[in-house]
């Protein structure tokens, strides 16, 4: 009769208890900018041991909590719902909280930059105000005429399905800041605003579609889209953004002819 004791631990068990065998060393190459120190942004490398099944956000946390507390970035829910931590990871816009280290080749340095086309305030934090202004400009709320119904506004399942894809938007700005037209001209409404206009234009309960189409028909509206599909690739919610933009274009053309 033998009860396992501390003395009888195998070396493998020891290693597992130390909890280091599954860790790998990755290099995070972060684009840092601090206007209180220097006028230019530069790349700073951080090496840290991390479980490859962790996310880029965990690596950023490790840097901020254990290596360099001055690193600044946004995150709120950390589970891909709030849309705060969109950033350019290895040259592609993604949510840091939905990107696993093992999925982005940890052999090479992992580059992390702020999203493009918006004013960089510090490190990975950008000024989102122009983005939200474009969102507000398409009137992303229900517009109806006449008296309010006494019961809820009914809608068939098929009518709801029509705009289901665009209801998934979390306003993380990954699509808009991946758009080459937006990089060069922030006057363009950008994919996110058009997606949120689409959500109401194709809603059978809404009666403001005409106004929104008129807004998007203007020179900085949907006609500036070059269908590069960057937005569809970037969307962490898998919204078919370019398709939604094309549907708005089609609605504008069928309305006219």
């Amino acid at each position: 009769m033998s009860t396992p004791t501390i003395d009888e631990h195998s070396s493998a068990l020891d290693e597992a208890e130390q909890g280091t065998s599954h860790l790998i060393t990755v290099t995070l190459r972060i684009r840092r900018f601090n206007p209180e120190v220097a006028a230019e942004a530069d790349w700073v490398d951080y090496q840290l041991p991390i479980d490859p099944k962790e996310r880029v956000l965990d690596a950023l946390h490790k840097v901020k909590w254990e290596i360099d507390g001055t690193l600044t970035f946004r995150r709120s829910c950390a589970h891909g719902v709030c849309g705060s931590d969109a950033m350019r990871i290895n040259g592609k816009n993604r949510l840091a909280c939905k990107t696993l280290i093992k999925d982005i080749n940890p052999e090479k340095p992992i580059t992390v930059e702020p999203i493009k086309g918006l004013t960089v305030l510090k490190d990975l934090v950008v000024d989102m105000e122009p983005f939200f202004q474009a969102y507000r400009d398409v009137m992303p709320f229900l517009i109806t005429k006449g008296n309010e119904p006494t019961r809820e506004r009914l809608q068939s399942a098929a009518d709801r399905e029509r705009f289901d894809d665009t209801t998934k938007c979390i306003l993380c700005a990954a699509c808009t800041s991946s758009c080459p037209v937006f990089w060069n001209d922030g006057q363009y409404f950008g994919p996110a605003a058009i997606v949120n206009a689409h959500r109401f234009i194709f809603d059978s309960r809404d009666e403001g579609g005409e106004q929104r189409l008129e807004i998007l028909n203007d020179k900085d509206g949907v006609w500036r889209c070059r269908t590069t599909f960057n937005c569809t690739d970037a969307c962490p919610r898998g919204i078919e953004v370019t398709k939604a933009i094309q549907e708005v274009k089609r609605a504008l053309i069928t309305r006219r002819f």
């Binding site: 900018f33 601090n34 206007p35 209180e36 120190v37 220097a38 006028a39 942004a41 700073v44 490398d45 951080y46 090496q47 840097v63 290596i67 360099d68 001055t70 493009k116 086309g117 918006l118 004013t119 960089v120 305030l121 000024d127 105000e129 122009p130 983005f131 202004q133 474009a134 507000r136 400009d137 080459p180 037209v181 990089w183 060069n184 001209d185 922030g186 006057q187 008129e214 807004i215 028909n217 203007d218 020179k219 900085d220 509206g221 006609w223 500036r224 070059r226 274009k249 504008l252 053309i253 006219r256």
Partner: protein
């Protein structure tokens, strides 16, 4: 390991370098042509819609016109060596080929001009640069269209 951020007071000032501090921060890195608080006024025109449609429709027609033109000029019946004054005079004797060349000239110039206009709108950051590039573009398009149409309509095969 992390590159240490040098405290500001330890930075050696060389030449034109400036010290930045919380009281005196550097300007933030701004993108070109940022959206302002003011909602852009709606122009209520369909110009961009028609421009977009025109690009698609003229593109389809130009595929036929340009490939036909290239085949006739460069491939069929002896290739490019046959092209001379007599060859052009012979073709333009027929109203059909006159019409073909006229339509091709107008569509190609307007299609290319509109394409370049969108490129300028996308890439020229300064309002002034945009204005002058577009002025130059419109002048070039108008000049080519007028000159080309003039030649097609007033072509005289007995000019020599």
């Amino acid at each position: 390991m992390a590159t240490e951020v040098t405290p500001v007071d330890e930075v050696e000032l060389t030449g034109s370098s400036v010290t930045y501090s919380p009281e005196n921060p550097a300007p933030v890195i701004e993108p070109p042509r940022a959206r302002t608080k003011r909602t852009p006024r709606s122009t209520r025109t369909n110009f961009e819609l028609y421009g977009w449609l025109f690009m698609r429709l003229s593109g389809v027609v130009l595929v036929v016109l340009v490939i036909g033109h290239l085949l006739i000029q460069l491939v069929l019946d002896g290739g490019v060596t046959k092209v001379g004054f007599a060859f052009v005079a012979g073709r333009w004797a027929s109203p059909f080929w006159q019409g073909w060349d006229l339509v091709m000239l107008w569509l190609a110039m307007l299609h290319g001009g509109n394409g370049l206009r969108t490129v300028i709108n996308d890439y020229a950051e300064q309002a002034n640069t945009r204005f002058w590039l577009k002025t130059l573009l419109f002048a070039a398009v108008a000049f080519t269209i007028v000159l080309g149409s003039l030649v097609i309509f007033t072509f005289d095969p007995n000019i020599r």
